[in-house]
Amino acid sequence: MKKRDSAKGARYGMVIDLDRCTGCGTCTIACAAENNVSVLYDESDKTRNINWLKIYMLTNGKAFPHTEVVYLPRPCMQCGNPPCVPVCPATATTNDSDDGIVSQIYTRCIGCRYCMAACPYHARDFNWFDPAFPKGMDRYLSPEVSPRMRGVVEKCSFCHHRLMSAKSKAYFEGRRDLREDEYIPACVEACPTQAITFGDLNNPKHRVSELIKNPSAFRLLERLGTEPKVYYLTTKDWMRRMADNYLQGESKKEGNRPEKKNG
């Protein structure tokens, strides 16, 4: 398979400001509605339900009044060096497009779930059941996103269909370049506190390129070398330390700083 040149084309990424996130969950709902994510008979069954964008609640483990809580929304990181891709025996998930988004082709997936085992972020979900929607909700399904069948894996695509729609619109106007605000995923659009910023990390004019230079910017499990394209911002040091698998006593200064590497 062809490896993509990360410096060429766009490299869409996200910056999530954890200090702004209130954990309200609007982004996950917007995501599920946008992407025709099916509804389980019992959504509280967290071993079976499907969530492209999951919110984790993290606390510093201290007793009141020193307790601090951070809500961490976790989409697919669209890794620049995705561990899920090389393990796929069916080439159903690839990292070959010009926009840096890791694909997941449902009709190609054989459901072996190797990718789920390989993804260090638990960003992938398996369809244990045929897709089902409560009565009336089927009328709100989007024709832009293909439905998944039982037995395949799905994951966040940064609302790739929105990128395609934005491109079509630009073509109509005779442009090939997209403006920063023309393509943003549903979660970014829905967030009431505007905690999520989205754009092309390869484009120095986009706000994300500026935000990731912020010293409080970091990525999850950065030391694995997966080169995630989802960055987080926080001023809480304990949160920063949780973001990577440090050994006890290991200096927090080590690692976990955004490196100037492309992915």
Binding site: S97, H160, S168, Y171
Partner: protein, 211 residues
């Protein structure tokens, strides 16, 4: 008793005859009868003539009149009934004496029912195909994928695969997979081959065409 060598040779020859008869029979079933059975034929709800409407005709419509792009870059595809009514507005003054025009009024325009066209080129749900990228940006002619529809007096019979429910125009008419014209088949490999030929291999990344 010793077997008669003459008798034995005859038995062997008979064996070969039966083998070849069986082989030919199987080939006929597999290559001719099965493909015939595999596709059911359906005719369009209305026999639309591109020639009578097209640029060369007395009506003289440009292709883009009906097959146009919306402002968001999506393609109108086969136009809705509204487009027909723009011209065919009065059942009392017909343009032709064609029974199809009467049918258009009685079956569709009067009850205001959309014409359930059968789409020859309908792709599977997992495919995203932007016409604008191909027609406007890459300046591809319609016929490259659709064939010479514009010169059709009658709409071709719609053949649908009984198992997959896809049109034969997707699968290709030739069971051996032989393809003479670009529009003979519309499978993924045909798209990919054309991208490659046009030097746009980067467009063969999965997510470009899949959704």
């Amino acid at each position: 008793m010793e077997p008669d060598p003459k008798q034995e040779r005859k038995g062997k020859r008979d064996g070969w005859i039966f083998f070849f008869a069986g082989l030919i029979g199987a080939l006929i079933v597999g290559w001719i009868i099965f493909p015939l059975l595999l596709y059911s034929e359906r005719s369009q709800p209305l026999n639309f003539s591109h020639v009578k409407h097209g640029p060369e005709s007395s009506v003289g419509l440009d292709c883009e009149e009906c097959h146009f792009f919306y402002e968001d870059g999506t393609f109108s595809g086969i136009p809705g009934l509204k487009k027909c009514i723009e011209c065919h507005e009065d059942p009392e003054s017909l343009y032709t004496d064609s029974p199809e025009e009467v049918k258009l009024f009685t079956n569709f325009i009067e009850p205001l029912k959309e014409i359930p066209w059968l789409v020859y080129s309908r792709q599977p749900d997992c495919v995203y195909f932007p016409h604008i990228a191909h027609v406007k940006m890459a300046e591809t002619e319609c016929r490259v994928c659709h064939g010479d529809f514009a010169t059709n007096h009658t709409l071709p019979v719609f053949k649908v695969n009984r198992l997959t429910k896809y049109s034969i125009d997707i699968w290709g008419r030739n069971i051996a997979g032989y393809r003479k014209n670009t529009w003979d088949r519309m499978k993924m490999n045909d798209c990919a081959a054309c991208h490659k030929q046009q030097g746009k291999e980067h467009n063969n990344a999965c997510l470009v065409c899949h959704k």
